[in-house]
Symmetry: D2
Subunit: 326 residues, 4 copies
């Protein structure tokens, strides 16, 4: 099957590669010509701009946009929608806010264009492991694109089947689902990322306790000098917390158990934030997911105005002096 791909960064480039490895043809574009050139040498049809991309595709066209959420994606889709023909489909594989999907799908439908949102998990490992995909949009269109999704997905691999699972639809077992109408794909991916934040923070807090158990601020008889690399390793084998995130943690600790290579300033992305907003809209208590987001906010500040205010109050009622940082 033929697919146009816009955005050939870490994700988009590998999506093109994985599709070509599976016998599909791709027409690729990136504003960085070097990326286009590289993929052309690997068998893709490289083009120099969006009109050329549209011209190179056979109708009904399918174009996968793999760009940062927000303006880059929005602007590209706006331009594309002026070039494509009724019956064509735009696939947004990025991390778009699901309410933007809903809005866009409505607007594009008026032009006869189809819009599919694909939440894509797999990161830099996707080329090798395949991509876990959560797809929103019209069921018929999703069905038409099935050969692409099937190739991008991990497949069943050697992961055991779930006991008692009964379903006529085996797509989930092969690594992709049609989650619902436009926006549903990115909604499910958004929640996936929210959970990811929580799991990561659970490991972070647990290992923080393990690490500080050797702190010299504790009395000697209360200290343990624990081997965090070994602990991550052993938990990979038969423990309840075994997970891919733990595998990655074990990787990191094997070569740098003190994690000196990292600053401790942790970025966050839209999905973590939108998850909390969705929870609030639905009145769902999410103390763990929100705490995980807040820990990242806090990691990027040396001190907060709020903390200073605590000191100011303590000085006010108790005469406690907590002086400025030197």
């Amino acid at each position: 099957m033929q697919l146009g791909i816009i955005g050939l960064g870490r994700m988009g480039g590998n999506i093109a590669r994985r599709l070509m490895l599976n016998g599909h043809t791709t027409v690729v574009y990136d504003r960085n010509a070097a990326f286009v050139e590289n993929l052309s040498q690997e068998g893709a049809t490289g083009v120099a701009d969006l009109p050329a991309l549209v011209a190179a595709l056979e109708a009904p066209r399918a174009v996968w946009v793999m760009l940062p959420a927000g303006a880059p994606t929005e602007d590209t889709i706006t331009v594309l929608s002026g070039l494509l023909e009724p019956g064509d489909v735009i696939i947004d594989g990025g991390n778009t806010y699901y309410k933007d999907d809903i809005r866009r799908a409505h607007a594009l439908l008026e032009k006869g264009l189809n819009y599919i949102d694909v939440g894509t998990s797999g990161g830099v490992w996707g080329l090798e492991r395949g991509y876990c995909m959560m797809i929103g949009g019209d069921a018929e269109v999703v069905k038409r694109l099935d050969p692409l999704f099937d190739s991008l997905a991990p497949g069943m691999g050697n992961i055991p089947r779930t006991r008692d699972r009964k379903s006529d639809d085996d797509r989930a077992e092969r690594g992709y689902i049609h989650a619902g109408p436009a926006g549903a794909g990115h909604f499910v991916k958004m929640i996936h990322n929210g959970i990811e934040y929580g799991m990561m923070q659970a490991f972070a807090e647990g290992f923080d306790i393990l690490k500080t158990k050797s702190s010299e601020s504790l009395p000697p008889e209360q200290r343990f000098d624990l081997n965090v690399a070994d602990i991550a390793e052993v938990w990979r084998r038969g423990s309840v917390v075994s997970s891919w995130l733990l595998d990655l943690t074990a990787d990191a600790l094997a070569s740098d158990p003190k994690l000196d290579g990292f600053s401790g300033e942790v970025a966050d992305s839209g999905e973590g934030r939108w998850t909390i907003e969705a929870a609030i809209e639905q009145a769902v208590p999410v103390p763990v997911l929100s705490s995980s987001l807040f820990a990242r906010f806090r990691s990027r500040q040396q001190s907060t105005y709020g903390d200073k205010m605590l000191s100011a109050m303590r000085f006010g009622f108790g005469g406690h002096v907590e002086t400025p940082k030197k």
Copy 2:
């Protein structure tokens, strides 16, 4: 009435002063001779050691220990218990863990000594405003010491009476209560401090949002340049959050609205921690009180091992590079 006082720091010294202002006599000791000398000049009987203190008091003696919780208090009480006579009473006015009170009360009772724990709130303002006291121990002994508590307490002042309040015991309205048996006084004070942590953190977070609303990291049209000193001031008048902590906040912001005089590293004391442990023992969910404690822990660290681990995982699955702090 006559009272021995051990520990003449910020709290103990002013307790002696407030009692003398109200016609009581005090016998005072501190290992810092200068503190003893100062209070002697204000009318107290200064003594040079614990035996002298005990000798200077008439039986049945009452000795108020106002020292840091833990070893200083414990050791002093141990020595005192060897010097006092049956019927005497030791008052622990510090911030002792209530389980230590229970243990001590039992041990001292075997020697015929009484033990009273007094949770004392009021800080540096107590001399002027009076001390809010939560008292644990034998009811008869508490009654015997009533003249002291009555003088130390703030009294009704101009604080309006609570509607519908019906009680034969007006001590609470005058600023002190007999909370229950040994330990109950410090237990109630401990919870008081736990609540204090939560209220402080609520203000800290709220003002942090107000302050960062002027941040240049926001788009200009989303910014407000708010006057935090005026906001604290106006909330003192008729708003739902009016409180003594807000008064102190308004004090601090009036002279230093950026709070540059503070480092943002905030200490915590035993009571905040013990409150969480009590909640866990009783299976009470306390997300606010615990979050307040954790915010203080976090304020004292530049970065955490846990945060670095988040970055390590992010690098592992997504190739995100979060480099070391320079």
Copy 3:
């Protein structure tokens, strides 16, 4: 001064009354004719619809809208904006989302109308205590309306002045501020409510520990039978947590220490939710404010799907059986 008031519920009715007590005249409307009739008998000019209200006011008119946030306020302002003349001012005294204020102010300005947002704290007590007001909008217009704000505000009363406070503007000390341009008033009020949530939850958690300390699920020697009404009362006198919320708590506990009159299902309003969204937009960690909101969400559910999932996992890995509620 003359003011039109739309919405004569708990807040709007008393605002009219407090203004009239201070020599102002009011023209009042409510879709409930009985409310209009009542206030007419107290001296207001009652009208039957919005055109009549506009007709009864002298230009430049000032109309205070005191309705539930969202559609009721929005629709009323839309109608009003078609009736008023350039130079007139609409005051939104409700709990509008501050971004709606910004939008509205821009739209109304195109018609030559002024828009003022007033965050109003004081609840059912405002008639007697006065209203604490946080005002957003054009400075000149706020100045023009000053006689109204001055009368509605509590004034300095017997609340002591803040030490070190230096300001040419004494409005904060009298209970109202001009916080900034349109939206700033409701923004500050929103944060006020966020803080209020946090303080309330701090008290709730602390008293929950005090209450459960007498629980029969604890071993007898660990129990204290604490008098929560006395504890609330004593903390009002000289303690660090003294506050209006504590006064209200003491009121409630004086007549119903077990709080049997309440279900434990707690509503939340927009402001608590918007506060968290503002914090997320500004990357401010707000664990206490968010926990307070989530506690209310949780209070309204008997069990959550999430909790059931925990049980399902526990059954999965450990064979733990947690059966359905009867």
Copy 4:
């Protein structure tokens, strides 16, 4: 190798079985004679009391105690310590508090007895998958018992090796570690369980949002009717949150997507609580781990005293009426 096993419940019985399958011999005791009888028929030497167990073992003896933490384990070890001879070793495989291990190890050492604490993860799946073990105690003794641990552990299986891992000690890769001196094994296991709580709660909150996204309390255009069983299934394939807990979740949702089989009342065990206490002792902020514990506390209550207090305050300042549950 020969091992005595006391406690033949879910864990102890299967430990005996897995050892026998691997060629070891066991001498087994449980106060429930039926359990002893069952294992005897599977090849174990069943005994009727502790003296018989000790008599049936060759010196130096090794006795694995697999009982509930607290009194059952403590009492059994006390009796055992009176029966064993210098050089013998007691293994506590349960969920003992690590400070109890430290105390016990000291006490037993005075009698010449060795004490080994083994944190054992694997639950009902251990017989088949093997047990992940975290071991504390004297290195030589742990070495002597290695044949047992080697047989109980899962081994490398088909789990890929960690990149860059360099270690002379391959025990972690085979599923067990010598974590440190007495107590270190249970300490590491305790933190494991703390992390487990956090991960579980992250999934619970995320799926709660997914589930309530179909709630009729949302406007129709904001709803998605998501298939939670498919979502859990697809995330098992290539997503970042893939984990054993997710596998179990998929199991549960495959047969009961509404989770109607569960009440939503979730138990907690000592380890979750002790993890928070350890964090507090070490001043580590653990918002996620504590929130997870508190969610379980909350799940077991229909309403809290704290929630009622919130309603009482809301009534106090705003006249909001939140009536008793019917």
